[in-house]
Subunit: 260 residues, 4 copies
């Protein structure tokens, strides 16, 4: 069964900015979806900020194996309740690919627990992404490096937690570097942050970027869901695996839930 | 200069529950403070949930190198605004030691970005903590293992992110195991989670527990603060380290702040 | 195409010790192979210490996607030259699953760069393996824990490097714990250490152990080989991606190889 | 008590190459020692390849808290027996700082278990080291980045294990990037790899490089030694912490050592 992927696009600059609209006449989300659909093991849907519940209903997320998130101008408009819902699905096993300016999305900051800040410059400069971890599944089939002739610069320090693994590091023409491909797990969900994708440049028309995204979706896919990952079950004394006798005082009545 | 440590105690069960009050007649926070004060390189203050702003004013946190957090029954009463303030101070370099039931505190969940759930049993059973990382500073001077004759059981899976390093793993009489000492960094702040400390048992009267706490405070201490860790500065094109020419279209006016 | 797996068995105690021979009349390697072959995506061969070049010829390894290694009494008889060859194949992308007493095999110590020591007791005691990382591919389909009624005890500290991820932690009846499932990457090869498997007990007749092994082979499989991972190529100045002028003195003549 | 540091210099190019000799008239090891000695908490000795046992006698290492290693042309002349001795001391808690071309030293490859390869170019180009982990002790007091106007280029992929933490990432004028500051632990010994230091350039006359080295020595210092880290003790059944009965067959006689 193909990996059920949902591409979430903010869809704001495409409507307001002629450069972005010319670049992505059907919206960034639809162009990202096109890149993913080149892999027959990936089935793709798209949705946007403007859809009811931002397109992230319980039903939609329950049918999503991997969510791909692009946002920038309207991070603040994403409702907190929806962010919590997406986080819960990630914890339960849904994969999440966060793109570019999504470093400041509510969902990424929620899952990282850190500022996720960086320095930046919008000058259409050259970015060169080096594969530092060639054996990682997300680097499958890639050359030693690939270039994006015009990109926004993001500079270190990128205030995210130390990742499970670093896959890409970027060189920028103006003198900066950036850890451009980072993996995490939160609960049972796999998370990949991928740096490129400024909306005024043709990044999502680049074939190597497409391959990274397809690899990332394949890597992030967890075939199982773990609905119980947020539970904190009490194990009754008489159900202990090894027989024990209850001793000493206790706070809780038998069968009572713990404090949260 | 000694490490300025602030012990935060919820101070609820000490007031309501005779067993806890007998165990910790001056409050758990004051007993934890006593353990820390045995190290002359640590200076200790205490505060509680009931203090104005839960004792976590900007002034108090600015003068704190390491915050030690014990809470249980009243996680929900800690104001979100204070949680955000504490998180900001951690990101800027304040150390944080989270104890026992603090796994479900708002501040720990905020910084982990994961459910932080586990299974539990309150039966006064034996816990044995094994040092799995004897070279880690938090294990300094400890024996191969130490025992707490009566403790609450916490069982895996503990839904936290993969740590920087695992320092302790617990064996429980009833058959479970638990990763009992885990290190993290968020922003520039060091975080240590330490499992033992159920309020109905005399855990914070144990000398080895005291040594772990003193080691943890010493390890978590970062002598610098990084107020800029949450900034996302724009680097103007003409200030690029390597000279570049601006190319292509842009979204932002010069000097404009980025989107958040 | 199925994952080409080679099970390497030391095949010493099966020949000398009646208990082991009765337990594994066709040799441990063949019983491990039988567990793997239940997955139609895995094709299995076996070999032993006694085969020419220990069955690890260049040709055999070139046709192996994942090597599974069980050894104990005869670690010292494995030729250093073969160990180096296996290490090279791992670096180039061959997966490696190291079982039980293989913690002291030359190949595991070679790839870890650490003592790989532990404490042990042979008493036929109960081991209970807890899944601490339920979202990891190696834990796919497993229950919260599984038990082996009779196993050898291995105790911490296990002097291996901090792993990429910890998948299992064991509880032992006699009071110890052990990190029983650990992942690593060396070069482009994935490595998994899995603790159970003492030869006098029926561990490789256990169906859950079989599932772990099949999951591990699937996880460790890297479809690509990276023959260049051990190269240290000189990049000539006139081939620099960004044009630079050579400056200052130099040690090396153009085109010369570096020092090793 | 100050941190007892031993700087090991290969001392080959200083004797053969006029540029290097002019750069470091007293040898690179003595110039590195001078940088370290600016910290009054560090006491420094030096030794070289040419000393008996390469200056790494049991006595010398027993009195060394942190060993700093610079080698290049003569990696192959370091005796395997001395490499094993140094590795043992690292496992037991001696810190190790490996510099520049030391990525291919026997001791670094021994401890990493991986190829430790990279691409390189000797063109006197500009290197800019970015601090990606500003809260790490090795980055203490450093600016956001620092530059070395003339350095040898090292390019990714650097085939080392995923580190505990990445502290520096380098930008090179010719278009490459490199993870230039990486931390590891092997056994109980802390290891830091630091990239700069080509012998034909004045790198060890740079004050920021000196600060990094002093920070690294301070970080790597483990005040304890763990002589038992390589032991694999048998725990007799009657000494089990929790009382157990021996069951089933066994391979080993009571009190017998395990296989290695």
């Amino acid at each position: 069964m193909p990996i059920r992927t949902l591409v979430w696009g903010e869809n704001v600059h495409e409507q307001k900015n002629k450069v972005v609209a010319d670049n992505y006449p059907e919206g960034m989300h639809n162009q990202i979806a096109r890149l993913l659909a080149k892999d027959s093991n990936i089935s793709v849907k798209t949705t946007t900020l403007q859809a009811p519940e931002h397109g992230c209903t319980e039903e939609a997320l329950a049918e999503t194996d991997v969510l791909v998130w692009w946002g920038h101008a309207a991070h603040g408009e994403v409702k907190d309740e929806i962010v919590e819902r997406v986080a819960k699905h990630v914890w339960q096993g849904m994969g999440l690919i966060v793109l570019h300016s999504g470093h400041f999305s509510k969902i990424f900051k929620r899952l990282m627990g850190s500022p996720c800040a960086l320095s930046w410059r919008e000058a259409g400069e050259r970015e060169r992404l080096w594969v530092v971890n060639p054996g990682h599944p997300i680097a499958k089939g890639l050359p030693a490096y690939f270039e994006l002739e015009m990109e926004e610069m993001y500079g270190e320090p990128f205030s995210v937690p130390e990742p499970l693994e670093t896959v890409f590091v970027s060189w920028f023409q103006g003198g900066e570097v950036f850890r451009s491909g980072l993996t995490y797990r939160r609960g049972t969900g796999n998370i990949f942050y991928f740096r490129p994708g400024h909306e005024t440049y043709p990044t999502y028309h680049d074939e190597t970027v497409g391959q990274v995204l397809r690899n990332a979706v394949t890597w992030a896919h967890n075939p199982n869901r773990f609905a119980s990952i947020t539970d904190a079950p009490n194990v009754p004394v008489d159900k202990a695996i090894e027989k024990i006798e209850e001793r000493g005082p206790r706070l809780h009545q038998h069968g009572e839930a713990g404090f949260r």
